[in-house]
């Protein structure tokens, strides 16, 4: 009994995808299930064996969604997300475009440009904490020397400034991802397209809009979503520098979840917030899914 072509195709499709899928599924399903279960157990602490006795109840969902603090935290998460994503992307695009040209020393420059990616998060956080220190930081010193500010600024202490100040190291660590991804995409654009445009006498800007951008837009969308998902959940950088402070001025949802679980031992609330976080990410993904799942050319 030979399989029909359609079935063979389907087996090939699944056969290629399953190994990767299974590796992820094995380690995600159990935690996902546990999180959802814990979110329905008000009063659950960290003693998970005791939690089995608590009855299912959705009251924490109601309480959390009614709490204005939850929405403030979500808002901050989005500020953090877009505040770091868009500049990272732009810097990544700019550097990729520059590195796409061939010039002497290109290899060295390429190496240097992506170094921030390689620094471990804990070291980068301490670096930025020192550089932007309100009393002895070198950035304050430099900015005053150049004359951009007239007094040392309390970068990580002032409630208005702190989100901006934690976004900076995030951009710094985030842009090389875009540099590399976009550079690879730019490399795939056939030179003939540019040569033809040159023959037609096109300007650089018009070449960008009509040739470069369409070719890299899918890769860009993909990179933005993937990096966006990462930025939404990451908490290392903010936690290492401000612990979400002063007060809650830099507390994003990832930090709040950590605090609720590991500081306040309220795994129920942490799980509720975790589910909320997943739902928000899921919705955004669903909206952009068609763009990512386009046919190949």
């Amino acid at each position: 009994m030979t399989l029909s072509k359609a079935n063979r195709q389907r087996m090939l499709a699944y056969g290629l995808l399953l190994p990767a899928f299974i590796v992820c599924a094995v380690f995600i399903v159990y935690p996902l299930v546990m999180t959802v279960v814990n979110s329905f157990k008000p009063g659950a602490g960290m003693n998970l064996a005791k939690n089995a006795k608590i009855k299912f109840n959705a009251t924490t969902y109601v309480k959390t969604l009614k709490d204005t603090e939850t929405w403030k935290v979500l808002g901050r998460s989005f500020v953090y997300l877009f505040g770091s994503l868009i500049p990272s992307y732009l810097i990544g695009l700019g550097t990729a475009l520059m590195l796409n040209k061939s010039f002497a020393g290109r290899r060295t420059f390429r190496l240097l440009m992506i170094l921030p990616w390689a620094i471990p998060g804990v070291v980068a956080s301490i670096m930025f904490m020192w550089m932007f220190d309100s009393t002895y930081g070198v950035i304050n010193h430099l900015l005053m020397k150049i004359g951009l500010i007239d007094a040392y600024k309390p970068w990580f202490v002032d409630r208005q400034l702190v989100m901006f100040s934690v976004i900076l190291p995030t951009i710094w660590k985030g842009y090389p991802f875009f540099t590399i991804t976009l550079l690879a995409a730019l490399q795939a654009i056939p030179i003939e397209l540019y040569e033809a445009a040159d023959v037609d006498g096109c300007k650089a800007w018009s070449k960008f809009i009509h040739i470069t951008w369409p070719e890299i837009s899918e890769a860009s969308a993909l990179a933005l979503i993937l990096n966006g998902l990462w930025s939404f959940r990451v908490f290392d950088i903010i936690y290492a520098i401000t612990k979400g402070g002063p007060g809650t001025a830099s507390t994003t949802i990832a930090i709040k979840i950590y605090n609720e679980a590991f500081q306040y031992f309220d795994i129920n609330k942490a799980s509720v917030l975790g589910v909320v976080s997943v739902v928000v990410c899921g919705i955004i993904c669903l909206i952009f899914y068609p763009y990512m799942n386009q046919e190949g050319k």
Binding site: L12, A13, Y14, L16, L17, P19, A20, F21, C24, A25, F27, I28, Y30, P31, T35, T95, K101, F103, R107, R110, L111, M113, I114, L115, P116, W117, A118, V122, V123, I126, M127, W130, Y136, V138, H141, P169, W172, F177, I180, L183, A184, Q187, A188, I191, E218, L222, A223, L226, F232, R233, F235, D236, A254, I257, G274, C285, M292, N293, Q294, G296
Partner: protein, 280 residues
């Protein structure tokens, strides 16, 4: 005609100037980390820190390299990173191709699930994951780290490879099969070579992800003999004080192996085989 040449030279010079300026701004924190590792904190944390190295005091590096088992950390990190990257990229190559070429319902759902697995906050994953590994007695095994790295790498790499595969027209594979190649032959001889820049990018991305991994490394492999570099560096943060110059020195040393790996992978990022493949 000299006007044209002058303009061209001006463009070239301003390009280099712009490049160097951007580099200086972007790499300043790294430079400052280096400066902090060779200058005393008394000078660095002051109202008038020295912007250029005044004393080349490499004692922090000496301390780090002799007092701490830094080569053990390096060995562990290299083992975990390379193994995870090799397996991760291999799995993503297959999976990404599938997502690109086949649009079945099952594929769409599995593809979405891969993204979903990146939406759960890590702090909520840690305890159930620890439980799972604890039950099969794989705590303090580097293979546990490799598996968690795979979970980190695969979703992104798969989708990124899908993007790169999307840019390879199907006509090429069809041409190959007309020439008598099996699917696999076509895949390896035609498609893969064209996506080498993508593969290089994904490999670099995976290496860096593994190299920087901290949360699972510190939770699942807390035994000193199994520390990876990130956990080792965090040990400079003591209960009462932080050894500042050593942490900065450690951070700088940390990047060096990565730079070597990158120098090795970087040629593949370059246009070469991709050019001129699409004809009419």
């Amino acid at each position: 005609m000299t006007n044209y040449r002058a303009l061209k030279r001006l463009k070239k010079v301003s390009f280099y100037v712009g490049l160097v300026f951007i580099l200086v701004v972007l790499l300043f924190p790294l430079y400052w980390a280096f400066q902090s590792s060779i200058t005393s904190t008394r000078l660095i944390l002051s109202k008038n820190p020295p912007l250029f190295p005044v004393s080349f005091d490499f004692s922090a590096y000496k301390e780090v390299m002799t007092r701490k088992p830094i080569f053990l950390w390096l060995k562990n990190t290299v083992f975990v990173s390379i193994t995870s990257t090799v397996f991760g990229v291999a799995l993503s190559l297959l999976a990404g191709y599938s997502l690109s070429r086949f649009k079945t319902m099952g594929n769409k759902m599995m593809g979405f699930f891969l993204l979903l697995s990146r939406m759960l906050p890590a702090t909520l994953l840690v305890i159930p994951i620890y439980m799972m590994f604890s039950k099969v007695k794989m705590i303090n095994s580097l293979w546990a780290l490799i598996m968690m790295n795979l979970v980190n790498i695969i979703p992104f790499s798969t989708w990124m490879m899908k993007g790169y595969f999307d840019s390879i027209p199907r006509e090429l594979e069809e041409a190959a099969s007309i020439d008598g190649c099996t699917w696999f032959g076509g895949y390896t001889k035609v498609v893969i070579p064209l996506t080498l820049p993508g593969i290089a990018a994904v490999s670099i991305y995976s290496m860096i992800l593994c190299w920087n991994e901290f949360l699972y490394s510190r939770t699942l492999a807390y035994n000193e003999k199994r520390w990876v570099f990130t956990v080792g560096i965090s040990s400079f943060i003591g209960e009462h004080s932080i050894n500042w110059s050593q942490i900065m020195a450690g951070g700088i040393l940390f990047i060096i192996p990565l730079m070597i790996a990158f120098a090795f992978l970087e040629p593949f990022l370059v246009r070469g085989l991709a050019a001129g493949s699409v004809k009419g």
